[in-house]
Amino acid sequence: MKHLYIFFSLIILINTIIPSFGQQVKKAENGVFLLKNATLHTVSSSTYIGDILLKDGIIAEIGKSVSNPPNAKVIDCTGKHIYPGLIDSGSRLGLVEIDAVSLTNDFDEHGDFVPHMKALIAVNPNAVAIPVTRVNGVTTVFAKPDGGTFPGTGALIDLFGYSPEQMTCGSERVIMRFPSTGRRGRWDRRTDEDVKKDAEKALKNINDIWSIAVQYMKMDSASKADNQKWCTNNPQMMALLPIVKGEQPLFIEVNSKNDIESALEWVSDKKLKAVFTGVAEGWRVADKIAKANIPVITGPILNTPRRDNDRYDASYTNPSKMAKAGIKVALRTDNAENTRNLPFNAAFAAAYGMGIENALRSVTLTPAEIFGVADKYGSLDKGKVANIIVADGDPFETKTKIEKLFIRGWSIPLESRQTLLYDEFLQRTPGIK
């Protein structure tokens, strides 16, 4: 009976939509919103039933009962669940439109050492995949270049806005891909020696770069101390400056056990702040990473094991094993168009040992901490950016519907090209005749 009911209600829905074609596209709505009587999953503290007031782009009030300002739109959320917007800590969203059409790929610049390539410059605010992603509750992603050893600087962006300025969360991070001793694929037929040799060469390369960067920093500080103007054009080194100065962590992409161990040595040798990303085999060396106190961004969780002799669930259990060892773990999809699957990646981590609460934190508050924006993102707290999702249940659960979405306080229509195609084609007119 329920089935029929849904079917009929759909038909009614469709019939009401069809005549309305041609009307204006739905736009995001700004204003003061008071969401009442929802189950508030704050992440930072407890979960309780209460109200939340969104105003001027931030969470203006949150509590068991928030009083109703005069101009607020009051939305009854009884039975609904409110969560902070989910954060994907590594994605190419906005930097690629269609993978196979290379001219729509903007994440891989020529050159092995191009840390000055800024993802924020190339993110397309109108990428079709952005609305597709956010209607699943993902409000913020770390859009990152990928390719060579220093492919560029990624940017944490909110998934609403029409310019980089409107989208940026103010956190950009330089990426380095640590020399790999793994194989690139089954087709990689290099000898073991060659693999080792290539990795050694690459390691020497990053060591050279590092020592030049240190010299650059010294010259730069010396010129500043002397109050001299230093005429130079070295954007690569400029990009590395905050890393060398220790102001920012370097995001180091590293995956295999051996490489993680080498990277740990390298980081301690260079005495730099680091965040490890990828970390597919973190579980094999979790204690060491924990001891070095290096945060980790890992994913995708929905991934095959990297060795033939690995357990089938090696990727599913990796985050929980690392978290249990005391590592700060955030999750990523490392995807572009299907960044929308972030909640499902988190859910698999939850099901395979991490637990729902910790998995939720790993896509909200923990990434906010890793990106240095925990004062603004990652939890339902007064004063934080109003990125929130309203759902009819647990947002990780496949069946759950996201019913409302707010980014920077804007109420975002739950619409994407994929939903529009559904609306148009569920009952095609004309049909077959």
């Binding site: 020696e193 040799k197 050694e200 002799n309």
Partner: protein, 577 residues
């Protein structure tokens, strides 16, 4: 009529080989051989696996064993062979290999217009090619196999899916045609494809084979019918590939199916069941899963003598230990401890060892099941043959069966039991003569007779035996000569080994006081690569790539972007530490 271009070629080679063959007596550099009669006195004879006769005398005459016994009449023209107390075995028979067939040169393939329909030779469909046209008795591989005790080989042309037909040769130094025992004995089939053209995968090779097989049968029958009564029939097209395949389809010629791994063996057995040809499984490395099936259908099997490398971890540790300096020693100990703590790796290694064991035990298992097998030698290095046989014996194969697999079994499989495989009067005088029983660890081969012709092997200098490994031979001071257009550069390369690491320095004669230390030194077996950076106005990197052979080496150097030049040199002495 189709003229085989190789026939012309082999005639030329024939002429060349006559003029250079030292044993034929034509060469005026050495004295002429007096006779083809030999007398082996008082030796142990192993006429066939499982029996041993002592105090035997053997007479060889005109290429055959003419007498054998405790008392024999010695012909007046007999040359006496110092064989007292030596062991005389039947010359070994290599049932399948590419012995004597030169590797094809790497020529650039002309781009095929339509990769889906390439010409047959590009597709690897050349069943008409005969190994008998390609064999060269003076090829190094012949001498290598002979020095390992082999007197007969069934040789296959090199190629792809249907490389051509096998022929049986004596492994003497005589003229190619004279060494031929039997031509076109069998067809070969292997799942080897030419990349990028049809058939490029095993599934297409199998599909193509089915197609060819059916059409070979249709074509052959049609031709026979046409010969009897052409009325109403279309005139048959002459198709050399199909006509060469036709005997396989009517079971007049067996198909040698190269099947190394378990899945290949399965493919071979399935295809045989489907089409019904006579088959010999060859190059089998992992065939034990199908032992029952092989036994039931009495399919002759040739096991590959190439075996997986066992882990040398332990021996290596021992070998390296004395060289360790204090500081590195502690570091290494730590490493070892760390490795031992890894139960996952231990599990991995255990499984691997178990896997290796299966490969090594296969021959013994086949013996226990009574499957008559020989060996094939497509991939094994001749120098490893005895070592590998001993490994198989350590893992359950009996010595008698091992010997049978070298002699009587392949003779049966090749259909030459009446000619070879045992030490008997009237058989071809193919003998292997050793100082100790062949499977004894310290046995060496003293003589090999092929077709009544004696080949003597003086004991190899044992100087290299003290060295711990192949690569140990590189340590030393070596001269070098580099031919650069317009000039010749000479100097020294000094290779040292300390704490398990190689250090290489290069000194050019033009500036004997300047030493260049090499970096990125990598040793791989007999090969070493390294580079130096030298100042030619600007720093230029020079890459060395050297291959060592006993007391000399050859190789190449590449100098920045200027190109690559040959380099060679000889051993001059120990390095000065």
């Amino acid at each position: 009529m189709y003229t085989n271009p190789f026939r012309v070629l082999s005639c030329l080679i024939f002429l060349v080989s006559i003029s250079s063959a030292s044993l034929s007596g034509q060469n005026s550099d050495s004295p002429k051989q007096l006779s083809r009669t030999f007398y082996l006195k008082n030796c142990f004879v192993i006429p066939q696996p499982g029996s041993l006769l002592s105090g035997q005398n053997v007479i060889i005459k005109d290429g055959f064993i003419s007498e054998i016994g405790t008392a024999v009449k010695i012909p007046f023209d007999a040359q006496i062979v110092l064989a007292d107390s030596l062991y005389v075995y039947a010359g070994f028979i290599d049932a399948h290999s590419n012995t004597g067939i030169a590797k094809p040169e790497n020529k650039d393939r002309a781009k095929v217009q339509d990769p889906g329909n390439p010409p047959n030779d590009v597709a690897g469909i050349t069943p008409q090619i005969s190994g008998s046209d390609l064999f060269k008795s003076l090829d190094k591989s012949v001498a290598d196999m002979r020095s390992a005790g082999f007197a007969i080989a069934q040789v296959a042309p090199r190629g792809l899916m249907l490389p051509g037909q096998n022929s049986i040769f004596l492994l003497g130094e005589g003229a190619n045609d004279k060494m031929l025992l039997k031509s076109n004995t069998s067809q070969n089939f292997q799942l080897e494809a030419n990349r990028g053209v049809y058939p490029s995968t095993s599934i297409a090779i199998l599909a193509k084979f089915r197609d060819l097989y059916k059409n070979a049968n249709i074509t052959g029958l049609h031709e026979e019918k046409f010969k009897l009564n052409p009325a109403g029939l279309s005139r048959p097209d002459y198709n050399k590939e199909l006509m060469s395949m036709y005997p396989v389809t009517i079971k007049k010629m067996p198909l040698y199916f190269v099947a190394s791994r378990t899945k290949d063996v399965h493919k071979a057995l399935s295809l045989k069941d489907e089409l019904g040809f006579d088959m010999v499984l060859t190059e089998v490395k992992q065939g034990w899963h199908y032992l029952d099936r092989i036994k039931k259908s009495s399919i002759p099997v040739l096991l590959s003598l190439e075996l997986p490398e066992e882990d040398k971890k332990d021996t290596k540790k021992e070998g390296d230990a004395p060289e360790k300096k204090d500081s590195t020693a502690t570091k290494d100990v730590k490493k070892v401890v760390k490795e031992e703590k890894n139960p996952e790796k231990d599990g991995f290694d255990q499984k691997k060892e178990a896997s290796i064991k299966q490969y090594l035990e296969q021959a013994g298992l086949f013996e226990k099941q009574g499957v008559k097998f020989g060996f094939s030698y497509m991939t094994v290095k001749p120098a490893d043959i005895r070592k590998n046989l001993r490994k198989l014996i350590q893992n359950g194969l009996s010595e008698n069966y091992a010997l049978a697999a070298l002699t009587t079994h392949p003779a049966q499989i090749l259909g030459i039991s009446h000619l070879a495989g045992t030490v008997e009067k009237g058989k071809i005088a193919n003998l292997v003569i050793t100082d100790k029983p062949y499977f004894d660890e310290k046995a060496t081969i003293k003589y090999v007779f092929v077709d009544g012709q004696k080949y003597e092997f003086t004991e190899k200098t044992k100087k290299t035996e003290n060295k711990p490994s192949e690569s140990g031979k590189m340590v030393g001071s070596w001269s070098y000569t580099v031919e650069i257009p317009g000039s010749t550069q000479k100097g020294k390369i000094i290779i040292k080994k300390a704490s398990g690491e190689y250090k290489v320095t290069v000194v050019d004669d033009s500036a004997p006081s300047e030493e260049d230390s090499a970096s990125d030194v990598i040793v791989d077996g007999k090969k070493i690569t390294f580079n130096i950076t030298t100042d030619m106005g600007a720093p230029v990197k020079v890459d060395f790539d050297l291959n060592f052979e006993d007391k000399s080496y050859t190789g190449s150097i590449s100098v920045g972007q200027f190109g690559s030049f040959p380099i060679k040199g000889d051993y001059e002495g120990d390095p000065k530490y």
